[in-house]
C-alpha cells in the first residue's frame, strides 16, 4: 500500500519533467499501434483459405518476425528511460532508508504505468487509423475491416507491452545503480573480439554459396527453407559483427577528428560500440531487407509485365507489404534513437551542464550527439546493404542488382530511414535545453 502511495506521489510530481514522460509514452504508443496494425494485416491474410493464401501467410509471418527486433529494442529503451529519470529521487529514497525491494517496486510500477498509458493510446491510434489501413489493397481489393483484432488480442498486446516495460525497468534500474560507478571506474573502452569478423565472413560466404547452388534446385519448398535460413543467418551475423565494425570505424574517426564535435561523437561510440549498435541495429535489418526488396521489386517488375493477372497482383502485394514493413521498422528505430538519446542526456546531465559552463555552444553539443548516432547509422545501413547484396548476388546476377529500380528502391528506403532518425534526434533537443536551464542544485 505504501509502495502504491509513493508511486502515486512520484507520478504526480514528475509532471514537470514533461518531455521525459511524454517520450516513453509516445514510444510505447508507436510500438503498440504498429504492432496492432501489422498483426491486424496478418490476421486478414490468415482469413483467406484459397490456394495462394499460404504464400501470403508465410510473407506475413516474415514481416512480423522482422519487426520483433526493433520492437523489443524500442520497448526496452522506453522502459529504461522511464526508470532512469527517477534516478535522483530513487537515490534520495535509498538514503532515507528505503529497501532495494521498495525502490525496485516503485520503478517497475511507474514504468509499467507509463507503458500501459502508451499502449492504450497506441491501441486507440490503431483503432482510429484502421479505416485507412482497411483501404490498403491486397489481391486487388481493400483489406477491409477484417484487420480489426478482437478486444481479447488487443488486451493481450497491451498487457504484453506492460510486461515488457516491467522487465526492462528492472534491467534499466540495475543499470542506473551501476552506471555512476561503472563510468568512474571504467579504465578501458570495451573491446570487441575480431573472431566475430571471421565468423561473419564465413557465414556470409556460406550463404552466398548456398544461394548459388539454389539456382539448380527445382523444389520450391527447399528453396524457401534455404532462403529463410540464409536470410536469418545473415541477419544474425550482422548483429555479431556490427559492434566490431562500429568500433573500427569510430577508432579511425577519433584519430582523425579535427573538431570537438567529431572527437566527442567518435569517443561516444568507442565508449560502448555495443550500445551504439543496439541503437541502430533495427536499421541493419531494414537496410538488409531493402536490398532484397529492391531486387524483388525489379525482378517482379520485369516478370509482371508478361505474367498472368494473379502474378501481377502478387507482385504488387509483395511490394506493398515490403513498403509497410520498412516504414514500420524505421518508425520504431527512429523512436528508439530518440528515447535512447533522451535517456543519455538525463544520465549525463552534470557533464552537459559542465560543458555548457566551459562555453561549449548548445548547437555544438547537439551536433556531437547527432553525429554519435548518425555516423553509426550510415555505416550500419551501407554495411548491411552491401552484405545483403553479396548474399543476393549469386541468386539474381549483377544486372538485376544494379538495375535502376533496385538502386532507387534501396536508396529511397535508406534515405527515409536516416531522415526519420535525424528527426527523432532533433526532437530530443528540448530535453538538453531543459537540463541546461535547470541544473541540479550541486552545480
Amino acid at each position: 500500500m505504501t509502495t502504491l502511495r509513493l508511486a502515486w506521489l512520484f507520478g504526480r510530481r514528475s509532471v514537470s519533467a514533461r518531455s521525459t514522460v511524454i517520450l516513453p509514452v509516445v514510444a510505447f504508443a508507436v510500438v503498440t499501434a504498429l504492432l496492432l496494425i501489422v498483426a491486424g494485416g496478418a490476421q486478414a491474410f490468415f482469413s483467406w483459405t484459397d490456394d495462394i493464401a499460404g504464400l501470403y501467410q508465410v510473407l506475413a509471418v516474415i514481416a512480423l518476425s522482422l519487426l520483433v527486433v526493433p520492437l523489443v529494442a524500442l520497448g526496452g529503451s522506453a522502459a529504461r528511460l522511464s526508470a532512469r529519470r527517477r534516478d535522483d529521487r530513487l537515490a534520495s529514497l535509498r538514503l532515507l532508508g528505503a529497501t532495494p525491494a521498495l525502490v525496485t517496486a516503485l520503478t517497475v510500477i511507474e514504468s509499467t504505468v507509463l507503458a500501459l498509458v502508451g499502449a492504450i493510446t497506441g491501441a486507440l491510434v490503431a483503432l482510429l487509423v484502421s479505416p485507412l489501413v482497411a483501404l490498403i489493397p491486397f489481391r486487388g481489393e481493400p483489406l477491409g475491416m477484417s484487420i480489426l483484432l478482437s478486444p481479447l488480442w488487443v488486451a493481450v498486446a497491451v498487457a504484453g507491452i506492460g510486461a515488457l516495460a516491467a522487465v526492462s525497468a528492472v534491467v534499466g534500474l540495475r543499470g542506473v545503480t551501476l552506471s555512476p560507478l561503472g563510468v568512474r571506474t571504467r579504465q578501458q573502452a570495451p573491446r570487441v573480439h575480431w573472431v566475430r569478423v571471421l565468423i561473419t565472413v564465413g557465414v556470409v560466404a556460406l550463404v552466398a554459396v548456398a544461394m548459388t547452388a539454389l539456382r539448380a534446385v527445382a523444389d520450391v519448398g527447399i528453396v524457401m527453407v534455404v532462403l529463410a535460413v540464409g536470410f536469418g543467418g545473415s541477419i544474425a551475423v550482422l548483429n555479431l559483427i556490427g559492434p566490431w565494425v562500429l568500433r573500427l570505424v569510430a577508432s579511425g574517426q577519433a584519430r582523425r577528428a579535427r573538431t570537438a564535435r567529431r572527437l566527442l561523437a567518435a569517443r561516444a561510440v568507442l565508449e560502448s560500440p555495443k550500445a551504439a549498435w543496439r541503437q541502430v541495429s533495427g536499421v541493419a535489418m531494414t537496410s538488409f531487407m531493402a536490398v532484397f526488396a529492391g531486387v524483388g521489386v525489379a525482378l517482379m517488375d520485369a516478370a509482371g509485365d508478361s505474367g498472368d493477372p494473379q502474378s501481377r497482383l502478387l507482385v504488387a502485394d509483395i511490394r506493398t507489404g515490403v513498403l509497410i514493413t520498412i516504414i514500420a521498422s524505421f518508425l520504431m528505430v527512429a523512436c528508439s534513437a530518440g528515447v535512447n538519446q533522451a535517456a543519455a542526456i538525463l544520465d549525463r546531465r552534470d557533464l552537459y551542464v559542465s560543458l555548457d559552463r566551459i562555453g561549449m555552444p548548445v548547437a555544438e553539443m547537439n551536433a556531437a550527439r547527432s553525429r554519435a548516432i548518425l555516423s553509426p547509422l550510415r555505416v550500419t545501413a551501407i554495411g548491411s546493404a552491401v552484405t545483403a547484396a553479396v548474399v543476393v548476388l549469386p541468386l539474381t546476377g549483377m544486372s538485376l542488382l544494379l538495375s535502376p529500380l533496385t538502386l532507387v528502391t534501396v536508396a529511397a528506403c535508406l534515405a527515409a530511414g536516416v531522415l526519420l532518425v535525424w528527426a527523432a534526434l532533433r526532437a530530443t533537443r528540448p530535453v538538453l535545453t531543459r537540463v541546461l536551464a535547470e541544473p541540479s542544485p550541486s552545480l
Partner: protein
C-alpha cells in the same frame, strides 16, 4: 602566497549585484573586485549566495540588477548585457572553470579533455593538443596524456581539470569547491597546482570553498551570509 601590485587595475568589477529565486534572496547587493594575479576565496554557509555570486561573475547566470564588468584589451565589457551566446563565448575564451568533481569526459583521454576548450575556440586539434601536453607537463602529468579519466586518481583528475581551465589562456579562473572531494594531502597538492597555474602567472583566481585551509591560500577571503558580504580579510 604571492603579492600583487597594489595599483593593478581590476580584472573583474561587480557592483550592487542582486539575485532572487522566487521569494528566496541569493544576493542582496554584493560588490566584488578581483585584480590580475589576485586570488579571492568566497566562503559562507550553504545557501549564503556564494555559488550564485560566482555564477554571476562568470556569466553563467545574469543578476536581477547590478553590473559585472570585465577588463578586456579593448576596454571594459559589461557581462550582464550579453545574450546567452555572448556569455557562452566569453566563458569559452576569457574564463576557466574547475568544478568539485572535475566533471571531465570519461570517454576522452586526459590530453583530449584538456585540449577540448581550445578546440571549441576553433583551434586545430594538433595545436590544441600541443598546448594541452604543455599544461599537463606543467602540472606534473607528463606521461599521462593518453590515460582515460578512469585510470587517474582523484588528485590527478583534478589536476587535469585545472589544466583544462588554463589552455585558452583564461584571464580569470573560477573554481567551485575544487578540493571538495579530496583528502587533505591531495587537497594541498591540488591547491598548489591551482595557484601555480593561475596567480603565479598573473591570472585571477576566484575560489568558492567551505575549506578554511583552501581559503587561507588565497590573498583575500570574503564571507557571505544571507546574500551579503559580512566579512573581508586581506592577507596583505
Amino acid at each position: 602566497m604571492t603579492s600583487v601590485p597594489a595599483a593593478a587595475p581590476p580584472a573583474i568589477v561587480a557592483t550592487a549585484l542582486t539575485k532572487s529565486y522566487g521569494p528566496s534572496v541569493a544576493l542582496a547587493g554584493v560588490d566584488f573586485r578581483v585584480t590580475p594575479g589576485e586570488s579571492v576565496a568566497i566562503m559562507g554557509a550553504s545557501g549564503s549566495g556564494k555559488t550564485t555570486l560566482l555564477h554571476c561573475l562568470a556569466g553563467i547566470i545574469t543578476p536581477d540588477s547590478g553590473s559585472v564588468s570585465l577588463a578586456t584589451a579593448t576596454g571594459p565589457l559589461e557581462i550582464t548585457t550579453l545574450d546567452e551566446a555572448g556569455r557562452s563565448r566569453l566563458r569559452r575564451e576569457a574564463f576557466g572553470f574547475v568544478f568539485q568533481q572535475g566533471l571531465l569526459l570519461p570517454e576522452l583521454t586526459a590530453i583530449e579533455n584538456v585540449a577540448l576548450p581550445l578546440m571549441l575556440t576553433g583551434t586545430d586539434r594538433r595545436a590544441a593538443e600541443q598546448t594541452a601536453a604543455m599544461w599537463l607537463a606543467a602540472l606534473g602529468l607528463a606521461g599521462y596524456e593518453t590515460r582515460r579519466i578512469g585510470q587517474l586518481s582523484g588528485g590527478q583528475a583534478q589536476r587535469v581539470a585545472i589544466a583544462r581551465a588554463q589552455t585558452t589562456g583564461a584571464a580569470v579562473v573560477f573554481a567551485d569547491e575544487p578540493t571538495g572531494a579530496l583528502d587533505s594531502q591531495t587537497s594541498a597538492e591540488v591547491m598548489d597546482a591551482l595557484i601555480r597555474s593561475t596567480t603565479d602567472r598573473g591570472r585571477s583566481l576566484v575560489v568558492v570553498t567551505h575549506d578554511e585551509t583552501v581559503a587561507a591560500r588565497c590573498l583575500r577571503v570574503l564571507r557571505l551570509a544571507d546574500g551579503r558580504i559580512v566579512d573581508e580579510v586581506s592577507a596583505r
